[in-house]
Symmetry: C2
Subunit: 389 residues, 2 copies
DNA sequence: CTGGTCCGTGGGAACCTTTCCACGGCGAGA
DNA sequence: TCTCGCCGTGGAAAGGTTCCCACGGACCAG
């Protein structure tokens, strides 16, 4: 391929001039620029991004590491991050850890080696992104969806525990007092948060721990959702509601229930988590807690770009937490004949079924120092999570 | 960050030696290697991928351009391509054209500028990937899912027209003779193929063109699916079956029908295209044509890597076409009181409902010259599309 | 008329690696 | 004993860009 030197030779100009002409530098005569441009076109010159990145020591690329490429929770993030970055002239290098810690670590290494300008990371262990700090302390990193620990690293997360709590509130309101939670891998921070919210809400409603089992599983996927549901049907006849804490396990749960002929919501209420587009044509449409995924992805990109552009003040971590909202559909109904229920048919559905789903759940949030200072949290976050100055 | 030079200085060795030691070159004394490695660890040395790529003139990265990051059709591809590449030590640079030709072209340019080693491209115009040939004739490109034209470029595609045909066959078998097709943008090659298959099958069954309208739309998305369905309900009371030629428009169609109180399949049969995981818990579970997306993605990666590794023989395009299979569920039933129907209740469901969905549809396919020579096509493809030697 | 400034350009250094070549030493075969 | 070849190493070139500095000319003010 043609290089700058070739263009220089063709035009009889020096390399510096050609470079300036091509990169829009003001100090170059218009005619010269014309000449250079036509020569470049003629030779089919394509500037070498590698060489430029090497010289300028920034590559206009950022890495995104997600644990699962077939989960709309993350692909939505990837999508909007990609858009946000593209708008600012950055490329996205997408990696997938498959939730394997070793792969995660390798990917991190590979990304710093390839000299990306920043990384958005969904960590899959408690160590999280701290490894990048060892590799390159100056590399901006923001954690997404999951938070690794007490390290001072930027993060954009959903309010998982509040979501769990709202779903439990909803179920309790309908008279359920025996609720099973289908959780994911125990060591993920999202799992922890969702379980914590679940337990806390149960306590608040004076539900007994043994009435509200939590089933940890190998992954947030359809098979586990189905398997856990089987387990519940087999071993816990007292349970009247299932809280599947991810969209995929909810799908699996529904599948298993449908196959076993268990009617939803008459015999069993089911709630999901997050709100993929197919939740309202499933059979039945699912009650769930929706997180503003697009906003979250955009925010992650914004926080990262801000860090890339302005030098980072050490220890000054920026944690943004997004609220979601309860979306009530027809997969939840009054508990069947379980003590307090006054409706033996169990058929009275929640009143607010089929409410519109896709409106802007949280106010347009601003990054601290990017303008308005309001964090998107409605109530002040716990100390560990609030942006600390 | 520490560089090779720093390590050389630290150890008192020359750059060449340090480089060799670190890159596993055999000609270096084990003790020396030890020394270098410990010094590198001590300094936190991270090799600079940019410099290496520049020197070796290959970057171990490949680009993937898809038109829509929220469509499981493409994200599935992205996922498996990513895995396949990672296994061979390549990174994936993911770009999204949003189906905008200008963006597509820009992305192509940006990728060749960043010196990826190859590109997998879902073209969004008929020109397709030919632009890369101008930019860099040696850059391996494989087109995915859509085929741009008569250019000699590798491609991995699904057998869209056969899929359409099989769905039409299925509907006709059930007595439908007025079938509306919800198509996508008219200029996409997938749309063309699906419409062609539809028309052809209609002709074969002697259905009249005016009984089988094709609705072209702005995009393969939920809104268009819903809008088109409204249009059909309003303007075409004769239609008894809707062929939504993508998973998302099927979703929109179902949504619209449910909202209008039109029963599926009693009042209207619906078939989708492709087979996202939620198609069998939708209300009702959808009959569809499933394409082996994982195999297709893997094949695309394989074809590309093969091209990267072995010099391309000009004009020798390798086109692989994947068969899918009909998946019959309960969204299709005998046509309502439409002439031939012998079942006035319209309730006799297709016999094969709930058949297993996720088995290996097509035999493990081999790339030409990568071992076995059998193409994954069951019957010989048309001349224009067969791998030509 | 001269000194200073700005403009446009050329040349070289720097970015960091890999790779090639050369060189000294040493063991083995002639 | 001499030579050949191999081994381990050092040095330098190359890869393609950007950035800094210097330089000549023109222009302006004193």
């Amino acid at each position: 391929m043609a290089t700058l030197k070739d263009v220089a030779q063709e035009t009889g100009l020096g390399l510096g001039t050609v470079s300036r002409a091509l990169s829009g530098h003001p100090r170059v005569r218009p005619e010269t620029r014309q000449q250079v441009e036509s020569a470049a076109r003629k030779l089919g010159y394509q500037s070498n991004g590698l060489a430029r990145a090497l010289r300028q020591s920034h590559s206009n690329a950022v890495g995104l590491i997600i644990p699962d490429l077939e989960n709309e929770f993350y692909t939505t993030a990837a999508s909007v991050v990609q858009s946000a970055l593209a708008a600012e002239g950055y490329r996205l290098v997408l990696c997938c850890s498959n939730n394997i810690p070793e792969v995660d670590a390798t990917l991190l290494g590979s990304l710093v080696e390839s000299r990306v300008d920043g990384i958005i990371h969904v960590p899959c262990t408690a160590e999280g992104s701290v490894r990048t700090r060892e590799l390159n302390p100056d590399l901006p990193v923001v954690e997404y969806a999951r938070q690794s620990g007490g390290y001072a690293v930027d993060a954009v997360i959903g309010d998982d525990d509040r979501g769990s709590a709202e779903l439990v509130d909803h179920l309790v309101e309908l008279g359920h007092r025996h609720i099973a939670m289908i959780a994911g891998p125990a060591d993920l921070s999202t799992t922890k948060a969702r379980v914590a919210g679940f337990r806390q809400a149960c306590r608040r409603h004076r539900l007994l721990n043994r009435d509200c089992p939590v089933l940890y599983g190998p992954a947030y996927d359809v098979d586990w959702g189905a398997a856990a549901t089987e387990e519940i049907l087999r071993g816990r006849p007292d349970v009247t509601a299932i809280f599947a804490s991810s969209s995929r396990s909810a799908l699996g749960s529904l599948k298993a229930l449908n196959e076993r002929g268990v009617r939803v919501p008459e015999d069993m209420s089911v709630v999901g988590f997050l709100n993929p587009m197919w939740f309202d044509v499933s059979d039945p449409p699912l009650t769930t807690y929706e997180l503003p995924l697009s906003d979250m992805g955009a925010m992650a990109a914004r926080v990262l770009l801000e860090r890339i552009r302005s030098p980072r003040a050490a220890g000054d971590a920026n944690v943004v937490r997004f609220q979601g909202r309860l979306v009530v559909r027809s997969s939840t109904a009054r508990a069947r004949s379980q003590g307090t229920s006054s409706d033996p048919t169990g058929r009275s559905r929640a009143p607010a079924a089929r409410e519109p789903v896709r409106d802007a759940a949280s106010p347009p949030a601003k990054v601290r120092r990017a303008g308005a200072t309001s964090a998107p949290t409605r109530k002040p976050a716990s100390a560990a999570l609030a942006p600390h100055e």
